[in-house]
Amino acid sequence: MTRGLRRSFDVLVVGGGPAGLAASVRAAECGLRVGLVDDNPSLGGQIWRGETTQGGSDAAGWVERSSVVGVQALSGTRVFHYPAPGTLLAESEDEVYELSFQKLVLATGARERFLPFPGWTLPNVMGAGGLQALVKSGLPINGKRVLVAGTGPLLVAVAAWLRRQGANVLAICEQASWFSLARFGAALLHHPQKLGQALSLRGQLAGVRFLTSCWPMAAQGSDKLEAVVLSRGERVVCDFLACGFHLVPNTELAQLVGCQTRGGCVQVDEFQQTSCAGVFSAGEPTGIGGVELSVVEGQIAGLAAAGRRQEAVRHFQQRKKVQGFAKALDRAFGLRQELRTIARPETIVCRCEDIAYHHLAEHKSWRVAKLQTRCGMGPCQGRICGPATEFLFHWNPDSVRPPIFPAQLEHLAWIGCSGECGAG
């Protein structure tokens, strides 16, 4: 039976990516009791995961600093509920944690956006980051033919990485036009570090076709992926399609806590404080901006949460510099209208509940479609089809309810505070 554990912190940070690591370190350096919860087995978030043991890397540096200053890390532990002010509930495989805090930093990152097209639910069609994660956890990719498609800088990063792992990357299909990419490239000139990364990735991808204004029209195959038809008419035979349409901020926890969002991002002030006093947010929940922005926002949030506003202010200049990159990202990788039309009437949009496009198209809002079709009501709780329908039908997402991730029933029933009927 489950064990219930209670922990209390001056500052609790949710999300152990670059933003969360930076926030927790800076707050702990101020002498506070700091907790850092992350749902992956190891810290680092989307980009640093798996690099935290490589000496000399940024990732290793922050993780090392966090253990030196005594950040209490709870890895493999996912926050699912905000049952009472100042308290979050989190679960690991066999434990439930009641985490109480004075200040909270939400650094929950982002996820890939998927758009439905015929065949996108076939086995071996996956997200770009998703395929990367699978390979990291052991999927053999050596010599496999991989097509990378969608939009955003992640495509290039993942393609280069997959190639280093021995994959035969056939092409990268970027829906953005050559013109917007060129403008983006020019913007990178103001961000030498980013430009350096980009050039090095280009180098690693020498010989790989890079197709702009190109997107997948259909994935074909009987029981798994065999080929992809591209918008330019070409049919590419391949083993894997790694396909994502940029990133969507993870704002569910912030919304559950009551923080205001706008345009899909958590609203924060200059100290990264949300509309809820004492609740801060840093990194991708506040907007997609890349790792440097996550780190600097994390530092500001950590310092501000620790009450060190003067010190936080010192990072404002640096944040301003990298924010330009975030704006350039938004401009360059906006989704083109044609993508609204690639789904066929019978194309599945909600994978959890098997809801096809035409079942949704007859409804006027996300809420009504949810009620009548149960779109978005499965285990992923609309994380995949929500952003897709937002784009396809201009629907606004619904309010958020606990649990924000599926949670074990007895963990959801946890009520440690009064002890009257806790689990265990």
Partner: protein, 376 residues
């Protein structure tokens, strides 16, 4: 202001308003339904969809039984997405005292023509292997069923529209009576008959109505096909759920066609906000785990709340509102409005069209509660 006129204006497009619209329209009346929000987005979106015969009182039995039969008759016409399944209810007896209730119910249902089967502990275990050991027995009511309420309401409204009814969404009504319906935007619509079918909001439009909001919580799990076969309800329900004063929880679980398990239920008075209340949620889930310990490790996917429209005598208000010949009520269905929506619509329209109702209507007439109000 221009005044459109209809024979019937129904305010509220929950399952009750939808059923009434369908009944009026199919009998040839010209109907307008006004809904301030989305179709079936109130209690109907939150309810469990258990189509159940209950016998807290003779009148409750009559209406639930009648309505259940109407659902059965409708079954061939119900589209697949209504997910109507005649899975049966088992009332669970956890001790000897509750087993006596099983026997009483068996007899009382039998008299009313509802087949039931008294189950021994062993038989119960056979029917529902995931119940914990040590239950005393149960009562199987095989003709009870479940459905998905929002789709049922959608179907009823759709059928009403096929018979000429009109539906106006986003129409917030602020005043009704004396043959008029006034909207928030100031416009007015005339109706010979106006039906207040606004569920727990009914007193906002009909002041003096003794209808109170009773909050309920539900939880739904991930898919576990075959785990649960019948709707299971504890008989302690009768002791706890109907206590009018205090918060209560009861073991009440429902198998969905998807293999998901819907877990209820809680009852709270005097709570206005929709947010999930951790203390009552935890009590409710704890209760469920007491009856089905293996629920413990299952994944809960969502929780939500809804408001039942409760009356002091636990019976709905169906019929004309004294003092206003144009005004009729169809509300106060508490935890049974999905079931009783069809019966409600029938006997309301019977009253208005002066056709012979199939069950006595007196117990549901609003005049029974209005007297006190009018005197005051």
């Amino acid at each position: 202001m221009s005044k459109a006129a209809y024979e019937v204006v129904i305010v509220g497009a929950g399952i009750v308003g939808a059923a009434c619209a369908d009944e009026f329209a199919r009998r040839g009346l010209q109907v307008l339904v006004m809904e301030r929000d989305a179709l079936a987005s109130g209690a109907t979106a939150a309810g469990m969809g258990h189509i159940v015969v209950m016998d807290d009182s003779e009148a409750q039995f009559a209406l639930t039984r009648y309505s259940q039969r109407l659902w059965q008759e409708l079954q061939p016409e119900l589209p697949d997405n209504v997910e109507y399944e005649q899975c049966g209810t088992i009332w669970i007896a956890a001790d000897e005292e509750e087993m006596e209730e099983v026997l009483r119910k068996h007899e009382s249902y039998g008299k009313g023509g509802v087949p039931t089967e008294v189950c021994s502990a062993q038989r119960l275990k056979h029917l529902e292997p995931n119940l914990r050991d040590g239950m005393t027995g149960g009562l199987l009511v095989p003709e009870d069923g479940v459905l998905y309420p929002p789709s049922a309401a959608w179907f009823l409204i759709g059928r009403a529209q096929q018979h000429g009814a009109q539906l106006r969404l986003g129409a917030s009504v602020v005043e009704i009576g004396q043959g008029r319906v006034r909207l928030r935007d100031g416009s007015e619509i005339r109706g010979d008959i106006i039906v207040n079918a606004t569920g727990a909001s009914a007193p906002e439009l009909t002041p003096g109505l003794e209808v109170k909001s009773r909050k309920g919580h539900l939880v739904i799990t991930d898919r576990y096909p075959g785990f649960l076969r019948h709707q299971l309800v504890e008989l302690g329900y009768l002791k706890s759920a109907h206590s009018v004063s205090s918060d209560s929880v009861a073991f009440n679980v429902q198998p969905r066609r998807t293999g998901q398990i819907l877990i209820g239920s809680s009852r709270q008075f005097g709570v206005e906000h929709k947010e999930v209340d951790q203390v009552i949620l935890a009590r409710m889930l704890e209760r469920a785990q007491q009856y089905m310990p293996t629920l413990r490790g299952m994944l809960a996917v969502r929780t939500w709340t809804g408001f039942r429209a409760a009356t002091p005598d636990k019976l709905p208000l169906i019929g004309s509102w004294p003092g206003d010949k144009s005004l009729f009520l169809a509300t106060g269905h508490e935890g049974l409005g999905i079931t009783t929506s069809l019966g409600t619509a029938r006997i309301l329209v019977d009253q208005i069209m002066a056709t012979e109702p199939e069950i006595p209507i007196e117990p549901y007439l609003p005049s029974r509660t209005a007297k006190a109000y009018l005197r005051a």
